[in-house]
């Protein structure tokens, strides 16, 4: 049997183990929920992870273009990029797959015929990891973009620049201090 056949045979065991390992990166109570709640709308994180790793695993076995895995990786990384993980913590799940596969292959009597393929597969998993670093960074950058866009779409800021907004002045401030006079003049100008 070649590696692909062995892994296809052990597909469900590997996926189960991989899922469990990922879920264990969450607190115990959360892990129980992520495992047991099967409704994909009630448990979108668990559902996305389990669906995502299935797709990733199948694509890996197919051995095609690594870029095809990107959307599945994206779904998972996008979630972990906003959860309370460090960047490395968010992405270790990719590396975990190597360990899971090795453990599952322990029982194989004769490993010689699959070893070469295994090394190749592991290097593909490394490629996946690199890809997910990119996705992770894109997600974090996106958050900054969103923050910036939001500030822009709140015309508030523009109006404030045009001095159309009357901020609550500190009460210590004299009612007609130089500052206030200036603001009032500008406001009049802006209103014209």
């Amino acid at each position: 049997m070649n590696l692909k056949d062995v892994l296809s045979e052990k597909r469900s065991a590997i996926l189960k183990r991989w899922f469990d390992v990922i879920v264990e990166t969450y607190p115990a109570d959360t892990a129980v929920f992520l495992k047991n709640q099967k409704d994909r709308f009630a448990n979108p994180v668990g559902a996305t992870i389990s669906q995502g790793i299935e797709n990733i695993f199948d694509e890996l076995l197919q051995g095609g273009d690594i870029g095809r895995v990107s959307p599945f990786l994206d779904n998972i990384v996008r979630i972990r990029a906003v959860q309370d993980f460090t960047p490395s913590g968010a992405l270790t799940f990719i590396f975990n797959l190597k360990k899971v596969i090795r453990e599952e292959l322990e029982s194989e009597a004769d490993k010689t015929p699959i070893l070469k393929d295994l090394t190749a597969l592991e290097s593909r998993i490394d490629d996946l990891a690199l890809l997910s670093f990119n996705i992770y960074m894109q997600c974090r950058e996106k958050l900054y973009d969103i923050r910036a866009n939001e500030v822009k779409s709140r015309t508030f800021r523009l109006l404030q620049r045009a001095n159309l907004i009357c901020d609550i002045e500190d009460q210590e401030q004299e009612p007609d201090s130089e500052d206030n006079k200036l603001i009032n003049i500008k406001r009049k100008e802006a209103a014209q």
Binding site: P27, D29, F33, F41, F85, S88, T92, N96, C166
Partner: protein, 536 residues
Amino acid sequence: MATKLPKPDELAKIDFTPPETGWMDTPVEIKPGMFCWGAKAKNLRAVEFPNARDWSPAEEDWKLPGEWEGTVLEAMADRLSKYRSFKLFMDICVRCGACADKCHFFIGSGDPKNMPVLRAELMRSVYRKYFTTPGKVLGKLAGARELTYDVLKEWWYYFYQCTECRRCSVFCPYGIDTAEITMMGREFTNLLGLNTDWIAGPVANCYMKGNHLGLEPHTIKSSIEFFLDDIETVTGIKIEPTFNRKGAEILFVTPSGDLFADPGTYTAMGYLMLFHELGLDYTWSTYASEGGNFGYFTSNEMAKRLNSKIYAEAKRLGVKWIIGGECGHMWRVLNQYMDTWNGPADFLEVPKSPITGTVFENAKSTKMVHITEFTADLIKNGKLKLDPSRNDHLKVTYHDSCNTARGMGLLEEPRYVIKSVCNNFYEMPENTIREQTFCCGSGTGLNASENMDLRMKGGFPRANAVKYVRDKHGVNMLANICAIDRATLKASMEYWVPDVTVCGTHELVANALVMKGEKERTQDLRLETLPGKEGN
């Protein structure tokens, strides 16, 4: 030799796997991206809130007033005696866990302290210590703990990770409403000056100027005038609304977000066009220029104070009744509290549509009608000429705002309106809509920018359901009836489902509305060319 590097699977667990100690003894860690900035002194001072000072939640020292424990416990004793429901909610939870996995913040973040039962337990544990005999005697054995600085910080952190959406209460066999516990938590921390600036700023502005942004009458007026130009471009019709007009039949009040933040602005254009087409005898007010009420996210008292301007303005102008625009929490306040706080508004009449003659019995005591009820009634009576095909390039789904859906049962009217003006409508899965709707993730004044990580986590369950209908039916428009939704779902979609746009319901109405004397429509309200009209 350098220190040993942690292995990948050790690294993965560093920040998330719970420490060995139980939840009670694990001090909270205030994480960036998860909280809003502390309130500025000037904003607290403007409304005479206690302990006005500049402070930062990220710093060790929160600059609390002396004797702060006493202040909180006294307030707690007071509310326990005043509000029976609060006392009940402190006592009766059997920790069955039915609510545990129903909160969008828990589902999205995976942080167990976001389970509603545990969120409530943060306060219950203190309640037990000071207000129950077993708690006093047995302490931790009875699930009781002292109110320490760390506990207070934990309260603050987690009560500002609850949007008071009430989804959890739908599943509790005892009807325990964690939202009310959060409200209490915010009220108590409020007494120590632990407000966020995102809430305190709008509260101060609203108190001084009548709206969240602190805009003065001429600015309100000129903003609406900007819309009129766009409406004229799209329809060829010049609309001339009135402001502060005494003797108008109807006063119209809407969240100011509709006037200044996209895409709410298009919804505001929708109101203007609809009312113009009807020839409605109505007026805008530049004083009651805010339907929203961020005071509701601080204390009962403040909410009441900010709300009072609505009836006061109705009285000053001598209108007969009030229409309210598309908003979420505004309606919770109006529907649930306005009448008792600032009513009875017996100087007003029971709302009656001048177009259809329908009497809105449901608004008999508040005298205020939700715009989707008003519009649904118009459509039902065939009073609007509509061309839904103008929205044919849209595949629309509808997000129930927590407040209108769970808070006031407004489920059918918005759907009826949308389906009348759009040919392609698709519901999201059943356990994510109507009474079970998932919060946008940023309600109750959590829609700041600095807490974006929190907002994205909390918004994920809703976004996940949108993604599903996008994949299944090609949905590209997420309609709603809440000004905060319009702003926050936009951000959430940008992150989770980038090809879905967000709109208010009256934007869709106005795009389909065939107006008397209009020119052929080639653009929608966003000034985007309508499909098939490219050559025009």
